[in-house]
């Protein structure tokens, strides 16, 4: 546990120093995307790994954050921080609207309804293309920064804050109750805990960081689009990153995100085949090492 903290600290320091050791803006850009996806994946992990609920629609929350912020900026011309706040709020409210009825459902139905939520959001964006820009996307006038390094620090800061909060929560009494609820809801109730209350709270927290990261991503990319923020494929990436990195660890999903984004970039010269290779590696990892990268690292450590 102690070793792990030291390793995380070293990696973070190295990342913070990265822009100063002559890395190209392109690589800094990749690192920035890794940070954003890391936040998405760790937010998802709180819900799955701890609350035991499979949310197939992380991109519903991300998309609400992104379009909430984008619309506030493009249509209302509000200042950027306020736009981000509004986007986050949209994700939290949307998450609540989804979670309160959906968490009553059992078995695969919670997952199904989250999947449907994504499809509906996607359709809504296309239907109201006049406002949302539809399939072309919504350009925003404001931007985080024109400087790649500054943008990277924003994303890294977000990753550190989200990681700290989520890890603290996961290791707190709240996290303990959440795990009990996720593992055996009946027993958790018999111990006196209102299980649904904790799961909704976890969903809201997950929505908060997903929405916040989604909103900031809009001002990093300069546009809100279905392809980058809402599409099922985005949600799939997030889920795969979390499972691949090591579910139920909060940190593992960041490793998974780094692999997915990093490998995608490295293999880019291969063209379309790169996607097949990345998916195949991810599939192989899941089949052979179900505990993911972090499980693999830890396993070797203890052995």
């Amino acid at each position: 546990m102690k070793n792990q903290r030291i390793i995380v600290a070293i990696v973070l320091l190295a990342l913070a120093a990265a822009p100063w050791i002559g890395i190209s803006d392109y690589i800094i850009g990749v690192l920035t995307m890794i940070c954003f996806y890391g936040v998405f994946a760790m937010s998802w992990d709180l819900l799955f790994g701890y609350a035991g609920e499979v949310n197939f629609g992380p991109s519903f929350l991300i998309g609400l954050g992104a379009y909430g912020a984008g619309l506030a900026d493009a249509d209302l011309g509000l200042p950027l921080p306020l736009c981000v706040a509004l986007g986050t709020l949209a994700a939290v409210l949307g998450g609540l609207l989804l979670a309160i009825p959906a968490l009553r459902l059992r078995g695969p139905y919670f997952g199904l309804i989250t999947l449907v939520a994504v499809l509906l959001l996607q359709d809504a964006i296309v239907i109201f293309a006049g406002t949302t820009g539809g399939e072309i996307g919504l350009s925003v006038p404001d931007i985080l920064s024109v400087n790649a390094t500054v943008n990277f620090y924003y994303a890294l800061g977000l990753l550190v804050i989200a990681g700290t909060v989520l890890l603290t929560v996961a290791n707190s009494s709240f996290g303990l109750i959440l795990q009990a609820a996720g593992q055996d809801a009946i027993e958790a109730q018999a111990l006196g805990f209102n299980v649904v209350k904790y799961k909704i709270a976890a969903f809201v927290l997950s929505a908060f960081f997903s929405g916040l990261a989604g909103a900031m991503l809009v001002f990093y990319l300069g546009t809100a689009s279905v392809d980058a923020m809402v599409d099922i494929a985005v949600g799939i990436q997030v889920i795969i990153a979390a499972v691949l990195g090591g579910r139920r660890t909060i940190i593992g999903p960041v490793l998974g995100a780094a692999f997915l984004i990093g490998a995608g970039e490295i293999l880019r010269p291969l063209g379309q085949v790169s996607g097949v290779v990345v998916a195949a590696v991810a599939l192989g990892t899941i089949l052979i090492f179900p505990n993911g990268f972090l499980g693999l690292l830890r396993g070797r450590h203890s052995a």
């Binding site: 009494s173 709240f174 795990q179 593992q183 027993e187 006196g192």
Partner: protein
């Protein structure tokens, strides 16, 4: 003194089945009440109804005069009722201390850290149940009894007025049973009301103040343990009207090659040992009963023999050592298992169920066999097009046996066929077994907790207790040595 926990008119129906019918009783502070009954009698359902895990169709559950029926489980827990489940799942990645701490946390989202006093309290509780030395261990490293201790600790952490305990001694050794009894008695001495649910008076007789016996969802007797054990109705449920035996001389079978020989069979479920070096031998045509209480290991033994669970030890089938066959291949070889859960195809008709049993028989033989079965169980012929799910419990059991017989078994394993059935059905089943024993050369292995049902047809009897074979002999000897023992000891 009035009851701390007052149950009145409690009723629960599952579809057409009345699992609990108008049950009323009180539990007083400083009292241990035993709720006993055979499997399927509704005792576990009563407990779930009290805890709010199932919603009652009618009736009240009053704690200190406040009706809790229909309230959510977590509110009932907060109101002062704690429960120890028979099967529990601890948090695997947390230490024993954290697991117990869980039971002390407030139901507030803002609870981030347990205070020092909570940790001290959890440590004290752990010490009290005998877990003081393993506070920092992970549950997976603990022996079975310690896991049960942890569940006790969690249940009393919130200082409940009433403690419900499901099958407190299942899977424990006699030394551990003593420890647990002392603990439970100490709960009573603190003024709590304790409700013990168990399948038999025997295991709880020494510690309970009163006993209530349930059968088919209704209370059939209550009072002091000794009175309930002596009660005519209770004895009929457990022992029937009286034991009759008709064993054939051992010599008939002694010289034949065993059809099944089980040697040193052990089965583990994780940490818990369900079977310990069990030996069992069956000769062709023999009828052998394995008698044992719920949780003794009968079902595990049968599942090992029919290839459904992994085991250590050797099983010889028709003289040959068995290695690695699938459960399906074992069944096709003539070792047919009719489990207590019956495993019918509920949405399929009686005819379809029977057809699936006879699918490997050539056409003419299948029809012949089917005709023979309809003579044995005429009711099935009348129900041919009805779906299996809609049959009564007795008819379902007959269908399960008929379906197994369609497999043309050389050895038929019957696990608890009497489970939850009314006495009149038992008579019909008993006649069928008599017929099978006398008119066919099928070897039969019957598992039962109902001794009266198990004995009349048996040539030999085994007694299984806590995963070990503790006795073997003829039914007549059993009637003399074990029967009374079985109910009371």
């Amino acid at each position: 003194m009035t009851g701390l926990l007052e149950i009145s008119g409690l009723t629960k129906r599952f579809g057409g089945l009345v699992a609990v019918n108008d049950v009323s009783f009180d539990v007083r502070p400083g009292e241990i009440l035993g709720l006993i009954g055979p499997n399927g009698s509704g005792k576990s359902t009563v407990m779930k109804l009290i805890m709010g895990i199932e919603r009652p169709n009618a009736g009240k559950v009053r704690l200190n005069g406040v009706n809790l029926a229909g309230r959510p489980t977590y509110e009932i827990a907060r109101a002062g009722i704690g429960i120890v489940f028979q099967h529990s799942r601890p948090l695997h990645r947390q230490t024993v201390l954290q697991n117990i701490l869980l039971g002390l946390l407030p139901d507030r989202l803002t609870a981030m850290r347990a205070g020092a006093d909570a940790i001290a309290h959890a440590t004290a509780i752990a010490g009290r149940v005998g877990l003081g030395h393993v506070l920092q261990c992970l549950p997976a490293t603990l022996p079975f009894a310690d896991l049960r201790r942890m569940e006790l600790a969690k249940a009393i952490a919130r200082n409940p007025l009433v403690v419900l305990i499901d099958e407190p001694f299942a899977g424990l050794t006699s030394g551990e049973v003593k420890d647990f009894s002392d603990l439970i008695v100490s709960f009573r001495d603190e003024g709590r009301a304790v409700l013990l649910v168990d399948h038999n008076v025997k295991s709880v007789a020494a510690m309970v103040d009163r006993v209530i016996a349930l059968y088919l969802g209704e209370i059939i007797a209550q009072g002091h343990a000794a009175d309930v054990m002596a009660d005519e109705t209770v004895r009929r449920v457990y022992l029937g009207g009286g034991i009759t035996t008709h064993e054939r001389p051992v010599a008939i079978f002694a010289n034949t090659q065993p059809i099944l020989a089980v040697k040193d069979l052990s089965v583990f479920y994780g940490k818990a040992q369900a079977l310990e070096k069990v030996d069992l031998t069956l000769h062709p045509g023999e009828f052998v009963s394995v008698v044992g209480l719920n949780g003794a290991g009968k079902t595990t033994l049968f599942n090992a023999i029919s290839g459904f669970v992994a085991y250590d030890g050797a099983i010889h089938w028709q003289g040959r050592a068995r290695t690695g066959q699938s459960a399906a291949a074992i069944a096709r070889a003539g070792l047919v298992h009719c489990p207590e859960t019956r495993e019918l195809f509920g949405d399929m008709s009686v005819a379809e169920n029977i057809a699936l049993g006879g699918q490997f028989l050539p056409g003419p033989e299948r029809l012949e066999r089917q005709a023979w079965l309809f003579e044995l169980f005429p009711i099935l012929k009348a129900r041919l097009q009805q779906s299996a799910r809609t049959l009564s419990g007795g008819e379902q059991q007959m269908l399960a046996i008929a379906r197994a017989l369609m497999m043309n078994p050389q050895l038929l394993i019957l696990d608890e066929p009497t489970l939850g059935l009314a006495p009149v059905i038992l008579g019909q089943l008993s006649d069928a077994l008599k017929y099978l024993r006398e008119q066919t050369n099928i070897t039969i292995l019957l598992g039962e907790q109902n001794v009266t049902f198990a004995l009349p047809h048996a040539d030999r009897v085994y007694v299984l207790e806590h995963g070990r074979m503790i006795w073997e002999g003829t039914p007549t000897r059993f009637a003399g040595e074990m029967a009374e023992n079985f109910l009371q000891a």
